[in-house]
Symmetry: C2
């Protein structure tokens, strides 16, 4: 079986799985309970929070735990009262683009987002790594340019596809908010985070018991928090090595695939992209057909992001990325994780070749 849909979500790392299962058993007390059992659990959560802040070199930031990156992005967006003063990219994750579809101002991936900033702009959203194409943004440079143009403008970075995979430091950052999640790097689902620069305005989306410094009420899910932290710790510790290894795999995949059939194209080959994501187009055969044939050989990839799979009509992500509409039905995404091996890639290539042989008669 080949699972190359890690940008949708990854299996848990063994160490994370062990920790979460232990936590589910042992750390059952409510961290808000005033007794010792509650305090022990609360201190484990605080320790996880500190470790994440340290691993991401975030000394000027607070971290709140949320249930998903969707929640983190929504919380920042909904902290601003006038969405028409928010600028985002149409190719951002649906938790941004859907949230702002009727009210925000958007640019395309090829546009210079800084140009769009004016004296009224309250928030600009940047994706560190685009989840469909893998395009990497220089978040620090863009943020600095935005603030040179309008020092009052706040910047939110959606770092979900970059966390633990793409090097970035927040030690001297001008970025105001960073949304993170662990389930693309072997952490559990149901937990995520929002880094908030000290002093940046933020409102609670969930109100109640005043957890997370009043910014996110709900009984915390201790074991998930511990697993989330561990996934970040492991990914950050091995980031460079993993990056280089996965980059070699990606290059090998692209070079091998390009010669399989003349109809295969890699539309973002000339742009700096994450080694973990490969976006390709097979002209002439709908990706649905290819994916179904691959699935029959136990090979799992996707066409678009899982969170865009329910979209009816044109996929705004494809439009934002500037993909020609006639090829929208031909787009595929292959995505790796840190434990992907050369053998996996070789097997994938051979299975893909088989599928092409089976379906090439369909090409018009």
């Amino acid at each position: 079986m080949i699972y190359f849909d890690h940008a949708a979500t990854t299996p848990l790392l063994d160490e994370v799985h062990k920790l979460v299962c232990e936590g589910l058993k042992e750390d059952y007390a409510n961290p808000s309970s005033k007794h010792k059992l509650g305090s022990i659990v609360a201190s484990k959560i605080e320790s996880a929070r500190k470790k994440i802040l340290k691993n991401l070199e975030c000394k000027n930031y607070d971290l709140i735990f949320t249930s998903s990156a969707t929640e983190s992005n929504n919380q920042v967006i909904k902290s601003f009262s006038d969405p028409s003063k928010i600028i985002y990219c149409l190719s951002d994750h649906p938790s941004i683009s859907k949230c702002l579809e009727h009210s925000g101002q958007f640019v395309l991936e090829s546009d210079d987002i800084v140009e769009k900033v004016d004296s009224e702009t309250e928030l600009v959203i940047i994706s560190l790594v685009n989840s469909q194409a893998g395009i990497i943004k220089d978040i620090e440079e863009i943020s600095t340019s935005i603030k040179q143009k309008n020092p009052k403008t706040r910047v939110l970075v959606d770092a979900v596809q970059g966390l633990g995979k793409i090097p970035f430091s927040l030690s001297h950052s001008s970025i105001d908010y960073i949304s993170i999640a662990g389930h693309k790097i072997g952490g559990p689902r149901g937990i995520a985070g929002l880094l908030i620069k000290k002093g940046a305005p933020i409102k609670a989306l969930l109100e109640g018991g005043g957890h997370e410094n009043g910014l996110r009420s709900s009984t915390p899910a201790t074991s998930l928090i511990l697993g989330f932290e561990k996934a970040i710790e492991i990914s950050c510790a091995n980031l460079d090595r993993n990056y280089n290894e996965v980059e070699q795999l990606k290059n090998h995949l692209i070079n091998s695939m390009a010669v399989i059939h003349k109809n295969i194209e890699f539309p973002f080959k000339e742009i700096q992209t994450s080694p973990y994501i490969v976006c390709l187009i097979f002209k002439g055969i709908p990706s649905d057909v290819l994916l179904r044939h691959l699935e029959m050989k136990e090979v799992y990839i996707s066409s678009t992001t899982a969170c865009s799979s329910k979209i009816k009509g044109r996929n705004p992500m494809f439009v934002g990325l500037g993909l020609e509409e006639k090829y929208h039905k031909n787009v595929m995404r292959i995505s790796f994780c840190s434990t992907t091996t050369k053998e996996d890639v070789e097997l994938f290539i051979s299975k893909f070749k088989e599928v092409i042989n089976e379906v090439s008669f369909l090409i018009k």
Copy 2:
């Protein structure tokens, strides 16, 4: 060790723990992914959803999974544009009272909430079981009376402390929304639900990938959903037996405690309360002191709900319950779960006696 703080949160049931750990390992695919791995996981989620609806006899309801009952309550409240047309009880959980503190209309526990309903009322919130005092409300009767007075008024029931513990049927219910969570009945934290009567208005709080029928975007946490379902299934299957057993334990505790010291009072003894929650007052000694002494003997109970523990100043829950202010510092809550035994209760009583002997010199 005696843990009698189950109303704050409970350890996972063994069967639930096993299921969640297996799910964390195996059901890693993203349920929104279109490939087979995604569909398998998605169908497990749909199966869990159906089982919950069946176990709660909810054929006229849809169920969406949320991250917490706080989120469920917030989502309903924030679906109504004018909070001044919402009536709640001051003794409701902070996810209701805090959310409405500056805007909603409140009653006290002793008030008749139906009387407050008028032609303008859009939403009334009722707690099935009060989390501090255990008071049980006849939710069906209240809901019916509300709708007789104003058929357009919607009713939200916070059923968190009653789910799997107190019998209630929704098969012919007039209630519009019911918020549920599993972590008071041996289910995992980080997952909860909202039952929505077909046709009742509801808005998404989290927008993005359109999960949960567009009502709650975020990659679902499959393993938590499966564990949540299992906890409900087990609790509902054993509800009557557990109720009777725990009721005997509660009666035994109250009868034994009442004779330990004349300063012990059970303020809600004459009202119908949940067997799982015992609220008591020890006049003359602050509960903080008693709780610290109990803790030294490895006995863990609480003064107020965990979600109220961060409150500064007067606890609105105590005010709502009509507890005299001079006794606010003397309130304690003991809470059981389905696996609490008579031996646990006996041990608790003996430890409590020891503590009273140690601290009774403090009584003025």
